[in-house]
């Protein structure tokens, strides 16, 4: 079963760009790379997903190198409300969550 590895925590300041890298060395051919955000006592919320190259939506960008063994979530100009835990579960038949990254945005 493919496993993901992320930094345990990251601190940032309002208005800065936050980049979180996830390693998934054993990613399967049919796995999509997904990112979810979770606030305390709430369910994870989908942010973005991709298979390869770069994907951008209204809240984030996702960079995936050609070998797909890692991915980087980029959050532009973060605000205090972006303080949360971020996960990069691989999406095959189900989502398998590894340890997430606790992002703290400071004023």
């Amino acid at each position: 079963l493919a496993k993901t590895t992320q930094p345990i925590s990251m601190d940032s300041y309002e208005g800065q760009e936050v980049n979180i890298t996830c390693s998934h060395n054993n990613i399967a051919t049919n796995d999509y790379i997904t990112w979810y955000q979770q606030f305390p006592s709430q369910g994870p919320r989908f942010i973005i997903q991709g298979y390869k190259t770069k994907v951008t939506n209204e809240v984030a960008s996702l960079f995936i190198p050609a070998d797909r063994k890692s991915s980087t979530l980029s959050l532009p100009r973060v605000s205090l409300s972006d303080t949360a835990v971020y996960y990069c579960p691989l999406a095959g038949n189900k989502l398998t969550f590894g340890g997430g990254t606790r992002v703290l945005v400071k004023p």
Binding site: S41, Y87, A91
Partner: protein, 118 residues
């Protein structure tokens, strides 16, 4: 837009009691997933259903069972509750897109049921 509805939001039970958690997926979503998240832990996959049939099984104890009904809602039944079962239980749904491997729709999570076993 309609979201995944879970009930109850909070549940307090005593050891050895039973509990039933309910999940109502987003309309037209045919796949339901159950996750357990203990305090300070990451969500752990329990079980999933596609078109009312169990599609995958994770770390679900034998004391737990689940099913998906004809209206696509799902119930997680938990018996002989233990203190360690205290956790947030999330349900998620998605449209499987005909199980097409080239299309992967994201999961939509409910806000969970917080189960406390005393």
């Amino acid at each position: 837009a309609a979201g995944v509805i879970q009930s109850p939001r909070h549940l307090i039970k005593e050891k050895r009691e039973t509990a039933t958690l309910k999940c109502y997926p987003i309309p037209r979503h045919d796949t339901v997933y159950w996750y357990q998240q203990g305090p300070g832990q990451d969500p752990q996959f329990l079980i999933s259903f596609y078109e009312k049939m169990q599609s995958d099984k994770g770390s679900i104890p034998d004391r737990f069972s689940a099913q998906q009904f004809s209206d696509y809602h799902s119930e997680l039944n938990m018996s002989s509750l233990e203190l360690g079962d205290s956790a947030l239980y999330f349900c998620a749904s998605r449209s499987a897109g005909g199980q097409d491997s080239s299309y992967n729709s994201p999961l939509h999570f409910g806000n969970g049921t917080r189960l406390t076993v005393t």
